[in-house]
Amino acid sequence: MKPRNYRKAVILFFLVLAALGFVLPSYQLLAFNQHLFLAINVLALNFCLGLGGQISLAQGAFAGLGAYGSVILHGFFPGASPLIVPVCAGGAFLAAALLSLPMERLGEGFLAMATLGVSLIFTNLILTFDGLTGGSAGLMVSAPLVIPGVGEVSGDREYFLLFLGLLALGAYVFLSLRKSRLGRALQACKDDPPAASSCGVNRPMVRALAFGLGAALSALSGVLYGHYSGFISPEQYGLELSLMALLFLVIGGPGNLMRPILAALVLETALGQMHFLGDARTLCNGLLLGAALLLGYWRESKGKPLLPGL
């Protein structure tokens, strides 16, 4: 597709989604918002994996950082949203960038291990400081999010617009980043790290930036989701969220903007309807992943056989 047509298609997609938000009844918007929350995390992971070529398993922890940070800070300073939200996003950005820097120096693949650790440590921290976080019993959200000039945010439709806006913002940043100098540098790091370094790309810095941006986006989605659901607990922001984000990103194809988001929205909605599946839902996810990997291989290899004779 030509770049201009592509941009039109993306804008059309968001307009259609926004229109849906005004048609659907309130309780179905809840499901939609939950899927949008996942889609934002898929996009956030796309910054790290799609652009920079590094697997992260900490998207859930960063979303949790945003949710817990915002809810706890709002408890101390109710109404200070314009300050708290950037602090949460900035905190996640800094934490992620500082984590990525040394990992990149260690070598390929270490970030995946480190982020797996971050996910587990985050859950343990929440459980340990139960005086502040409520521990595994969770935390009731008392103070609402306040937008200056608009007032307190409540209701499904308001949050739907915020989620959609955040997704659109993320998509915009993603597209402009991909075309920028930084995006090209990331692409080079992904394709051939030693070559990129010898061409003068500051690899640790570039990847830390991309990873940090993804973390900040996740944290923002967590801020919204925490205040939206009104109750936060560690199980909502555990490893499962990170794995789901990774699953849908791989199904849609890392580096692609719309396909992973669509995969998350469409497949989650479809799977959510199929109550009869029960525990077979996990199996479905696995089958989808397998099919997507085979399809991706087939597309890139232009029909070469997967195994000799197959």
Partner: protein
């Protein structure tokens, strides 16, 4: 051909007429974890709920109207539980909700139910749903399983009567385990007990020898393990394989059931735990108000084929109790109205259920005391009342 079609249609109409003539059913929502980690409790709960509703309807329903259950799967996830609760209220327009199964899901549903004024009778183990304070109001939320504090008191009463002074605690790192730990620690002084050491563990883990050994070095007289599911049996095994003198192993009220006996094997011998009277129906004295209810439930449970798939355990009766309370509440209220139902539920006294005799007040939305539990001892691979 046409004639036959018309005839068939008329026949169908004839059979359908009585159904039209009957009263509108009362819609009740059911939330059960039928997949995910809590499915081993949620799935049998659903079957019990369906069985109980059928019994109520066969006996003429409530207020002359049949009950209709609309059931959704929560996947053991709080987010899905909230989504399904909203679908029940806003799309299916149910009068009240039974469930969900796990404490985390319960907290997510409770927040919504309190805002929307929907009576919910939960089957969750943890207390926060009806604790108030920082966990929010609980004007519309009830729960049928005994409070954690009730079970802790039962255990401590037994330990005190057996001259135990020094205990060690081993609790799961989940909402249920944390709830247990809080109460175990805060109630210990009241019973003259010293908590010598405490450890936590991941309930999804497969070996807790390290924690068991560490607690063993403190030489406690008894160790109390607070978790639901297979982890309790694993911990019992780990303690059984400790060298030297072993402490008395006490499990929580979530453990009694054949699964524990099977998984722990010989290590289960001598383990004690609080349980509902469902676990030892033969030991109930003739005058016990629960005797008839429990015996009938055990009989129906196996006659409906649930026993074959999910052998009776301590969780089996909670969905039954929730529906019995709902029925009693509706009859007291005299009309199918949420506010009237809530007020009636809060005034119920002496309703015999499977888990105990419920006496609910506006302050106590559980209504069970320590005498609803009995201490069970595993002897020769079976549960017997502990002396």
């Amino acid at each position: 051909m046409v004639k036959r079609g018309v005839l068939t249609f008329l026949c169908i109409l004839l059979f359908a007429l009585p159904a039209f003539a009957a009263e509108e059913p009362i819609l009740i929502g059911g939330l059960f974890a039928e997949s995910g980690p809590a499915a081993f409790v949620g799935t049998p709960s659903r079957l019990v709920a369906e069985m109980t509703v059928k019994q109520i309807n066969d006996a003429g329903g409530v207020l002359g109207r049949p009950i209709k259950l609309v059931i959704y799967d929560t996947e053991s996830k709080p987010d899905v539980a909230l989504r399904m609760a909203r679908q029940l209220v806003e799309s299916d327009h149910v009068l009240a909700i039974i469930g969900p199964t796990s404490t985390g899901s319960g907290m997510a549903v409770k927040k919504y139910a309190e805002e929307k004024n929907v009576p919910v009778i939960m089957t969750v183990g943890g207390d926060p749903v009806i604790a108030g304070g920082k966990y929010g109001p609980y004007a519309w939320t009830f729960k049928t399983p005994q409070r954690t504090s009730t079970a802790v008191r039962k255990v401590y009463e037994y330990l005190k009567a057996h001259d135990v002074k020094k205990v060690a605690l081993m609790t799961a790192k989940d909402a249920f385990g944390q709830d247990g730990l809080d109460h175990l620690k805060s109630l210990a002084p009241e019973f003259g007990l010293e908590v010598a050491a405490e450890e936590t563990f991941d309930p999804k883990g497969s070996d807790f020898s390290a924690q068991a050994f560490k607690l063993g070095t403190e030489k406690p007289q008894a160790v109390i393990i607070w978790t639901i599911g297979p982890a309790g049996a694993i911990a019992a095994k780990n303690f059984a394989s400790l060298p030297g003198d072993k402490p008395l192993v006490v499990e929580c009220h979530g453990q009694p059931g054949p699964e524990f006996l099977e998984l722990a094997g010989p290590a289960a011998e001598g383990v004690i735990m609080p349980g509902t009277k469902l676990m030892a129906p033969d030991s109930l004295p003739a005058g016990d108000p629960q005797k008839a209810v429990v015996e009938k439930f055990v009989k129906d449970y196996s006659e409906n084929g649930i026993q074959a798939k999910f052998p009776l355990n301590t969780h089996s009766g909670y969905a039954y109790d929730a529906l019995i309370l709902l029925q009693a509440g509706l009859e007291k209220a005299g009309k199918a109205d949420p506010a009237a139902l809530r007020d009636a539920l809060q005034q119920l006294t002496g309703v015999p259920g499977v888990s105990g005799v419920f006496t609910i007040t506006p302050e106590d939305h559980n209504g069970l005391s320590t005498d609803s539990l009995i201490m069970l001892l595993v002897k020769d691979g079976a549960f017997t009342p502990a002396k």
